[in-house]
Amino acid sequence: MIAPTLDIRDLRLTFSGLGGSVDVLHGISLSINREERVALVGESGSGKSVTARSVLGLLQSLRGTRISGDILFEGTNLESMDESRRRQLRGTRMSMIFQDPVSSLNPVYRIGVQFREVLARSNPGIDAAEARDRAAEILSEVSIGEPGRVLESFPFQLSGGMNQRVMIAMALVNEPALLVADEPGTALDVTVQDQTLRLMHRLVQEHRTSVLFISHNLGIVREFTDRLYVIYRGRIVEEGPTGSVFRAPGHPYTRALLAAVPRITRDEIPEFEADPGKFGAPKVVHGPAGNSA
């Protein structure tokens, strides 16, 4: 049997600081098979972005972070791997797309320079011309008409949508096995976001990339993912194929989440089946296990 691309087992995470410690994840288990696109859905503060960053290993070096549990990537446990070997995987076998494309690209280097350095992650000896060709090639895959001009530009000279496409192209140029997309394009306006997500969707299908898609936008999740996990206060409360979860949500929180999506086909305001007070403001400090189930 082929090992899944990503297999998170009982991931727990605690931030501790001067004011005491905060449990953020209370045992997350999640798996993504090859070429599968999986969503992690939840409200702000539920722990989705933290989960995404732990997969890449971006939080492990922070002081005051305590992580336990296993993160298996293509069958290898990342948590027991040493830091430099783990770093080797980033940007080559796994990559990430961030919320705000404009501020995620370095403001003082041209796109072409940044592209070349990303390419050098998997091919350290790559020369300028080769890098340029490869970058132009993938930029035209994300429907950028003048890749040459974009490569010569600084991020502030391009629109948000353009920067987003650049970021998607950059994340996929090294053919990673796993792409982590943390609320991609949330900082963009809705039509541009939709456009770029469609491009991303097409690209990951063509490149057979597995995707961990972090979002709070259920419309997007329904359109672009095969399976979804619902995260609530640091715990997975429901999982299943996207279609069936949307048809028959099992957990009251999922139902509340689905009911929160405005539908223009209905004429009445949706009613919550469960007590909406229970799903009020998100809490940073999550209660003890069992409280939210």
Partner: protein, 347 residues
């Protein structure tokens, strides 16, 4: 095409700054010309000494046009300046331009070496401090840089001289070079002149002499540069593009030296430029302590002697150096910050 546009905006920036610099210089010349003449004391009397007769003093006053109204005097000054003549110094009895040519290189050399120390020590210390924020090494750097900022350079000059030239004679106590060396004067910069005649022993000796005074002069700048760079680096470390660089697995040293450093250095540069120019003033006491035959010492002497031409000449040269330093910094910033190069380029 890109390069062309790039060059055009840089040229425009350069022209703008040059025009402003010239205006500033003109203003400075009027101001210092007036001030030098308003402060009490008759320059002719001071120059000739108490034993000169009244006729002699009157004759010198006429020779210097001091009997004319001040705007006529300024007219003479501008006319001579256009011919590159700053007049005769009453103190050395030589043309002021000759004096400046003799003393300026020593000071410039001192300041340039101090500037290299400032950048070479200040920036890396700031980077290391930010990179290891909160660790022991950060605390040590912060204490050292605070010390550097807290005491003026002449205090450091005395301390360094006592520690490393007197108690622990690692460095010479004063002067620019040992008297055993005879170096032909080509540029006035000993570090260059010695290399021109390929006298490496003399070069080493001059270098050995400049370390302590330059370091004393640079210490506060080092502290300031380190503190500023640290603060800016820490701010930059919080930016999304640093997290993105980490997500691509770039090594931490590369993130520090490339992705975080360049956006952070831009505000530090402006301050470094000002520090650089301020050293011209601070150099005086350091030059006095280390018996360094530079322009700052000359400047103070001529002020005390009310040597009008020399005062105006020295101040003008120092202002020009100040403006040139700022011009270089502006160009560097334009080079480092594409937003400025492209004139706040919009989307």
């Amino acid at each position: 095409m890109r390069l062309e546009r790039n060059m055009r905006s840089v040229c425009k920036l350069l022209a703008q700054r040059l025009a402003i610099s010239l205006l500033v210089l003109a203003g400075v010349s009027v101001l210092v010309f007036a001030i030098a003449r308003i402060i009490p004391g008759d320059p002719a009397r001071i120059a000739l000494g108490p034993n000169a007769t009244a006729e002699q003093v009157q004759k010198l006053r006429e020779q210097l046009h001091l009997d004319r109204p001040i705007w006529t005097q300024y007219g003479y000054f501008v006319r001579d300046l256009a011919e590159g003549d700053l007049g005769i110094s009453l103190y050395t009895n030589r043309p002021v331009t000759t004096d400046i040519a003799q003393f300026l290189p020593a000071t410039l050399e001192l300041i340039l070496v101090a500037g290299i120390f400032m950048i070479g020590f200040g920036l890396p210390l700031g980077i290391v401090s930010a990179r290891y924020r909160g660790r022991a090494v950060d605390h040590i750097i912060r204490i050292v840089s605070l010390l550097g900022v807290s005491a003026p350079s002449f205090v450091w000059a005395v301390i360094l001289m006592l520690l490393f030239a007197f108690f622990l004679p690692l460095f010479p106590i004063a002067g620019r070079i040992s008297t055993d060396f005879e170096i032909d004067r080509a540029t006035g910069f000993l570090l260059i002149d010695t290399l021109l005649v390929a006298n490496y022993a003399a070069f080493g000796n001059a270098l050995w002499h400049i370390v302590l005074p330059a370091f004393a002069l640079a210490l506060s700048g080092i502290g300031q540069a380190a503190r500023l760079t640290r603060a800016n680096m820490i701010e930059t470390y919080g930016r999304p593009y640093i997290e993105m660089a980490r997500s691509y697995g770039f090594p931490e040293w590369k993130i520090a030296s490339r992705y975080a450093f360049r956006p952070s250095i831009i505000p530090s540069l402006t301050i470094l430029g000002l520090d650089f120019a301020a050293m011209l003033g601070n150099a005086f006491l350091v030059e006095a302590i280390f018996a360094w035959p530079g322009l700052s010492r000359y400047g103070v002497t001529v002020i005390l002697r009310k040597d009008l031409n020399a005062i105006v000449g020295t101040v003008l040269i120092i202002s020009a150096a100040f403006l040139i330093a700022n011009l270089i910094v502006d160009l560097l910033i334009a080079f480092l910050n594409p937003r400025i190069r492209y004139g706040q380029g919009s989307k």
